[in-house]
């Protein structure tokens, strides 16, 4: 187990550093000058050059990179090249929002996928099973941003039940927070829910054919009790694998959904900072995203060993 964790940490560090170098290189060759953007159209070339020196843009790329990564390793994300404000607090705020959004959409996706998947599995041969199956197909096909726009049109613009966008901090106003969370979480979670429900369905179908299920039924358990007591735990393993992979997708989806709903999360911050060529900020955000995905995958791996004792002995 210690070895596994050590290896994980090694992968963490390597992936993080590789990602930061790739981001740095890509941004370095991108045209655009943070100093000119900060000073605007009224600045003279001399002003721009002075600003570039002030924010260290005139140093060689290697020096800039090493300076940045050195500070990040001690927890200092540096100063924005455009607004000259510390980047760390901005990233922390935005990350908090994105994490809440992603977790809420995972919960919604599971709330939908597990019952719906089981339902379509047991109703596999009936006409209603086919209908349920088509519903989840449509869910897979509709992109999150479109779902978001539709939800806003119906529930915010037409019915005025919920706000069209924005974000409220749960500490300020909890019911406002929930109201602002519902539509984006549904938009982000709907595709994942539909995808997951199809995995749940096939996992349940597989499990129902297993010998131990037949044994359980032979002992006198009904379908439902056999499924709940023995089947679901086995069906959960493949579903968890997919879920782990999907969380990375959700983070990318969050970038789009945050735009649609004007949510100041990590995705919005990233797009803003790229537009401004705010190199230190973009690097910081990408690094945080990479670490975030790695941590989540690690947690999913850990969860396997909890669900499935067989994996515990293997590791």
């Amino acid at each position: 187990m210690v070895l596994v964790i050590l290896r994980r940490i090694g992968i963490f560090a390597t992936t993080g550093i590789v990602a930061s170098i790739v981001t740095f290189l890509l941004l370095a060759i991108l045209p655009g000058n943070a100093a000119r953007i900060a000073l605007g159209v009224q600045a003279t070339e001399a002003d721009v050059a002075a600003q570039a020196t002030a924010i260290g843009l005139d140093r060689p790329a290697v020096v800039r990179y090493l300076d940045w990564i050195g500070h990040v390793l001690v927890g200092d994300f540096g100063t924005s090249a455009v607004s000259r404000q510390p980047i760390g607090p901005d990233i922390a705020d935005a990350l908090g929002i994105t994490v809440i959004l992603v977790l809420a959409s995972v919960v919604l996706a599971l709330l939908f996928a597990i019952p719906f998947g089981i339902l379509t599995a047991i109703r596999q041969r009936g006409p209603d099973g086919a209908i349920f199956s088509s519903i989840s197909q449509i869910g897979v096909a509709v992109p999150g941003f479109l779902a978001g726009l539709l939800l806003v049109t119906v529930f915010a613009v037409t019915l005025r039940w919920l706000p069209a966008g924005g974000w409220v901090d749960p500490a300020d106003d909890f019911s406002g927070f929930i109201e602002h969370l519902i539509l984006p979480a549904i938009a982000l979670g709907s595709v994942q829910g539909a995808v997951l429900s199809r995995y749940v369905r096939s996992a349940v179908l597989d499990v129902m054919r297993d010998d131990f299920m037949r044994t359980a039924r032979a002992k006198g358990l009904g379908t439902a009790r056999a499924l709940f007591r023995h089947g679901l735990r086995n069906a959960a393993v493949p579903v968890m694998t997919v879920l782990g992979l999907q969380i990375a997708t959700l983070l990318i989806g969050a970038v789009v959904i945050e735009r649609v709903f004007s949510i100041p999360g990590l995705g919005s911050l990233l797009l803003d900072k790229v537009a401004l060529r705010d190199l230190p900020a973009v690097q910081g955000i990408v690094l945080v995203l990479v670490v975030f995905v790695l941590v989540l995958n690690f947690l999913v791996d850990l969860a396997f060993t909890v669900i499935d004792p067989r994996l515990r002995s293997e590791s």
Binding site: N33, A50, S80, V82, R84, L119, L162, T223, R259, D272
Partner: protein, 503 residues
Amino acid sequence: MRAPTRRTILASITGTLIASLALVGCSAGTASTDGGPDTTLTVGLLATPGNLDYTTTAGAAIPQALLYNVYEGLVKLDNEGTVIPLLAESWTVSDDGLVYDFVLNEGVTFSDGSPFTADSVKFSLERVKDNWTANGPAYLDPIAGIEAVTDTQARITLSTPSNGWLFNMTGPVGTMFTEAGISDLATAPVGTGPYTVSSFKTGDSLVLAANADYWGAAPYLTDVTLRYFTDATAQTNALLSGDINLISGISQFQLVDQFKSDADYQVLEGASTGEVTLSMNNASDAFSDVRVRQAVMYAIDRQAVMDTVSSGYGLLIGSMVPPTDPWYDASLADLYPFDPARAIALLAEAGMSDLTVAFKIPNLPYAVAGAQVVKAQLADVGITAEVTPLEFPAVWLDEVFADHDYDLSLIMHSEPRDVSVFAAASYYAGYDSPAVMAKFAQADAADPAVYVELMKEATRTMAEEASANWLYLQPAISLADADLRGVPKNTPSLALDLSTIAR
């Protein structure tokens, strides 16, 4: 045995779904319970400030939020574009136009409690030259000296008479600061205005609260939230769903008619200072010949461009001057009527009948839409325009604005009174006319009586020499809840002046 069991499963599934729906239902709807009149307002805006310091950060977003609301100057610009007193109660100008004596309002304090005096004037204006890196510190170049005569009398001496100087004092460079309040301009502004900043989250919102100790008439609105959107559709949806009450300066003009027919909203149409301009690189091989530039003037049906890009809203101007400027000349809009045959003849005369130009546009919706119409109309007179959208601001600023590496571009110039800026030889338009620049300088130093006339002459020469094709003036259209009163119609300055808005 089978049937009841399956029902059990279904029941539990249905239960879960109902429970989660109920959760959704419970939290829906908001209630406002306090009995008094609603003195709050939420405004939806598109460009977010990165910080709150406009002395070192460019862009319209910071002055839009803070100028006249949190910060004030000696003078301000009213909604018709007239310079009116603000912190200065009155002023006199010496006969030679060099000495301005300002009488300051008494009893004015900054939001940190420190008093506003003539020393604040001296401190603030002297700071511009050395400490400002953005928003045009050069605007105050005419100032030779600032003297605090008494606490309420400030004397500003100019090195040369300047008619434009006092107007520039209505903008960001004229802002009055207190020495004690500049330590954290980026996050904690201290001004004399009717509002103070109560919270700011970049990319999300800026909350203003009425300044209880304001020296002037208290504003009607006590709490104003400026909410920032990155997406124009999200912004209009927020208005339709009641999340926000006002959009100042919409960009989705195709939606205006929908709002006009809805009794819950009012549509305010005014003039902006945004000239949507088809810029020609006067220094390029293609456009250094005035006949080629004039051909582009005759080749473009500006009304058609305006119809496509802004659903017909806007104003054909024919120069870089909006109607809120005193030297606006309405006749310039008709200087070059749409006449493709004339354009073809001019191109033939210039020996440029088969011309190919690099048309580098910012990747902004109006520019992308407008470029398609322009490209088609240029093709009709034999000019092939190769359209390249460049990321805005990053790449466009570098390639077109700084390096002048383009033939044609299409961009809105939103700064107020920027006609003389456009004529400068070093500007990206490459229009090098010493005569016009001399005329602008002469106008600025002239007797106020002939100032406007000289400005008109220089502006007309720029149009006659076809230094650019000013397509139209961007409409300033605001959408607001029907019960709002006093919403500013025009946008003659960068500021979004909240002081006149009431319900």
